[in-house]
């Protein structure tokens, strides 16, 4: 297990991703930050109900991964899910409208902050039960492979979610199915050091979280989650590997949340002011903009323009949400079940991304057999010898 670090491929230089794309990524991260600031403000004004968990400080994690995904890939998030929606391309207006509980919200106002769904953009939801979505992601990955595609599924969750039963059950199944190339899922641990008020060393017997994952025959690696370059580099390599092999992989992003656990967590007795202030030096937005200044010649004016643009987008989203209509009272009883009593089932599944005709090969190996084998070599090298042996038995 310890060997995995040495075997890592080097991260891409800026040259592999064009400068404009980096600037787009930065721009979107700025948007997410401003969106979160606005959402907290609206929460304090009582415009947003329930719980509100903002993502400020962690933007690089989702930005790095989602920017490397294909449009037809699928993403699952926990309840801290605003960034996931925005970075997958959901309209900020619709996301804000959802937080406001309006009919035009991404989940028709029925989900709220913790349950953003935008299936057209690959977001299969935010979930409020810690870790409850991990098995869903493994199942979705199976389905994607079963249908003969090379799409992948990414599942984001916090360090705290690693202690719940569904985590262990899902990872074991993913590990098993992965041996048959049937589970192209990427688990992304958003390790911000805390599960609410409980730090990792007070919630985990083994605090090396990626090492825990490897117990399930799922290779993993740690990455600096404040560094968008590093995140994106890992994402590019891992996603293409998982796409080829159909095997699960885990990325542990070491990150930090600047705000409280939720908008109601004002006192934060579990961490010091100094620690929070210190973490500001590792602001992913600052780090990326500094890097881009050096590498693409990004200027202060460019940054100002981005910031103004994001302000305007967010202001418009807030305006839109404020003015949007509440759901029609009839909506209360809509979408509960699809069945109509006494009607024959029509069999159509609503998911627009539902799989097409199944590949006759049974999904064992993909069309790109050769590439797949290559990828397996890479992976066998990257994972432990023991895992390599098991693979031998499989054949």
């Amino acid at each position: 297990m310890a060997k995995r670090a040495e075997k890592k491929k080097t991260e891409p230089a800026l040259g592999e991703i064009a400068a404009p794309e980096w600037e787009r990524i930065l721009r979107e991260m700025v948007l997410v930050r401003k969106f979160e600031e606005a959402s907290e403000k609206a929460f304090r004004k009582g415009k947003i109900g329930g719980y509100l968990h903002v993502y400020s400080g962690q933007e690089a994690v989702v930005a790095g991964i989602t920017s490397a995904l294909r449009k037809d890939d699928i993403v699952y998030a926990g309840y801290r899910d605003h960034a996931h929606a925005l970075l997958l391309g959901s309209d900020p207006k619709d996301v804000m409208a959802e937080l406001y509980g309006k009919a035009s919200g991404v989940s028709k106002g029925k989900g709220g902050s913790m349950h953003l769904f935008d299936v057209d953009r690959g977001l299969y939801g935010g979930y409020g039960i810690v870790g409850g979505h991990l098995p869903l992601a493994a199942g979705t990955a199976y389905s994607l492979r079963y249908s003969g595609t090379d799409r992948v599924c990414v599942c984001f969750f916090g360090d705290g979610a690693m202690n719940i039963g569904s985590f262990h059950e899902a990872l074991n199944m993913a590990g098993l199915w992965g041996k048959r190339g049937m589970c192209p899922v990427i688990f992304v641990i958003e390790n911000n050091g805390y599960a609410m008020g409980t730090s990792v060393d007070r919630h985990s017997a083994v605090t090396d979280l990626s090492a825990r994952v490897e117990a399930y025959a799922i290779p993993s690696e740690k990455v600096d989650g404040q560094d968008t370059f590093a995140m994106r580099g890992v994402a590019d390599r891992v996603i293409s590997q998982v796409r080829m092999t159909g095997r699960p992989y885990c990325i542990e992003a070491i990150t930090y949340r600047f705000s409280g656990h939720g908008a109601a967590d004002l006192f934060q007795p579990y961490r010091s002011k100094e620690e929070v202030e210190e973490s500001r030096h590792r602001d992913p937005i600052l780090i990326l903009s500094k890097r881009l200044r050096e590498m693409t010649g990004l200027t202060d004016e460019d940054l100002q323009e981005m910031s103004d643009w994001a302000d305007e987008e967010v202001a418009e989203a807030v305006r839109f949400a404020e003015e949007a209509e509440e759901p029609d009272p009839k909506e209360l009883f809509e979408d509960v079940i699809a069945l109509e009593p006494g009607r024959e089932p029509d069999g159509d599944v609503s998911s627009p991304l539902h799989w097409g005709p199944r590949d006759e090969g049974g999904g064992e190996e993909d069309e790109e057999d050769e590439e797949a084998e290559d990828a397996e070599d890479v992976e066998a090298a990257a994972s432990s010898e023991q895992a390599g042996d098991e693979e031998g038995e499989e054949e």
Binding site: I48, G49, G50, Y51, E98, G101, K102, A103, S107, G109, K110, G111, G112, M114, H115, Y127, G128, I129, V130, G131, G132, G160, A161, N163, I164, G165, S166, A195, M196, G197, T198, R202, H203, S204, P269, Y270, E326, P327, P329, E331, L332, F333, V336
Partner: protein, 330 residues
């Protein structure tokens, strides 16, 4: 007697029982250093130390399961569910283990533990965080299920639960934490579990409720008296299991009309159970069919306007009482 909040009554009960008996411990997520999401456990870590105030990982099945193991061997664990919604993650441990061990061990073992925490419809918390659990846990033999509506009952019933030998599901409606009421100071004050009580005396219609719905019913009763001259009796079912329907039956013999109020979904619910008990024991006394006031039969929506439509309100109770009293001109 002192005026106390429901929250403080719950805290005092735990505090006093932990002082009284070393075998009582409390465990749960963020209850120690963080002092509890609803601040029930504030000050407890300092006072009792980490062996008795056990901060746990997010692992509901593990928490309940380990607590069962403790309870089977002499300890009296209190499990705090951050909210009862998460108890569903531990359903197997609660329903298949805690509820059954005494029975299938032929009575060789007691399971003296309490699983407590807030439940009930939230404020914009949406479907996974906004559920009421009376009927769900009430369905399973082997469990004791308590749902107090007042600070005094919260304290007295919780002490009884902690001192007893059974796995107790102790449901605190989150909306009640801030309410205040007189609570006896005596540290040996307990309320026996399995006794319903009359929250308001009346002659015309019996309203049956539990937990938060008692307050709705009392408010409705007041309005009905003022506006319609209808005098309602309100029965507070403080324990869902064992269920004491005797005061309900007695009341119906007097009023001949009954309305049952519950926050949760109508099918297979608390209100159905009460209504059916009335039919079993006092069918001939009824002058009108029993009416159920319930939440809408949908997962809880997030949007505020829909959420308001999804849970019962005082006017719904008023309407039901008028209907059952044929006071609507029909």
């Amino acid at each position: 007697m002192a005026e106390k909040s429901y929250r403080d009554a719950v805290r005092d009960a735990i505090f006093e029982e932990m002082e009284r008996d070393d075998s009582v411990v409390i465990m749960g997520e963020d209850i120690g250093v963080y002092e509890g999401t609803f601040r029930i456990t504030a000050g407890m870590l300092d006072k009792f130390g980490e062996n008795r105030v056990i901060d746990t990982p997010i692992a509901e099945a593990g928490i309940v399961g380990t607590a069962i193991g403790m309870a089977m061997t002499g300890m009296r664990p209190i499990v705090e569910m951050m909210t009862f919604n998460f108890a569903l993650v531990a359903a197997d441990q609660i329903l298949n283990h805690a509820a059954k061990i005494r029975y299938f061990s032929g009575g060789q073992l007691d399971i003296p533990m309490v699983i407590r925490g807030p439940h009930g419809a939230g404020v914009g918390l949406s479907a996974q965080h906004s559920q009421s659990f009376e009927a769900f846990f009430g369905h399973f033999p082997g469990l004791v299920v308590v749902a107090p509506s007042t600070p005094a009952d919260a304290k007295g019933l919780l002490k009884s639960a902690i001192r007893g030998k059974d796995p107790v599901i102790f449901l605190e409606n989150a909306a009640l934490y801030a309410i205040k009421g007189e609570v006896p100071d005596d540290s040996d004050f307990t309320v026996p579990i399995g006794t319903s009580t009359i929250a308001r005396k009346g002659a015309d219609v019996t309203i049956v409720a539990s937990g938060k719905m008692v307050h709705l019913s009392l408010a409705a009763a007041k309005t009905l008296e003022e506006e319609d001259g209808i005098d309602c009796e309100v029965v507070d079912i403080r324990a869902i299991r064992p269920l004491d329907v005797a005061p309900v039956i007695e009341s119906v013999r007097k009023t001949h009309r009954a309305v049952v109020v519950q926050e949760q979904w109508k099918p297979f619910g608390f209100a159905a159970e009460i209504a059916s008990s009335i039919m079993d024991e006092a069918f001939d006394e009824l002058d009108a069919p029993v009416i159920r006031v319930t939440g809408a039969d949908v997962p809880m929506p997030y949007a505020r306007n829909l959420e308001l439509l999804a849970v019962p309100h005082e006017p719904d109770v008023i309407q039901a009482v008028r209907d059952v009293a044929y006071a609507n001109g029909v």
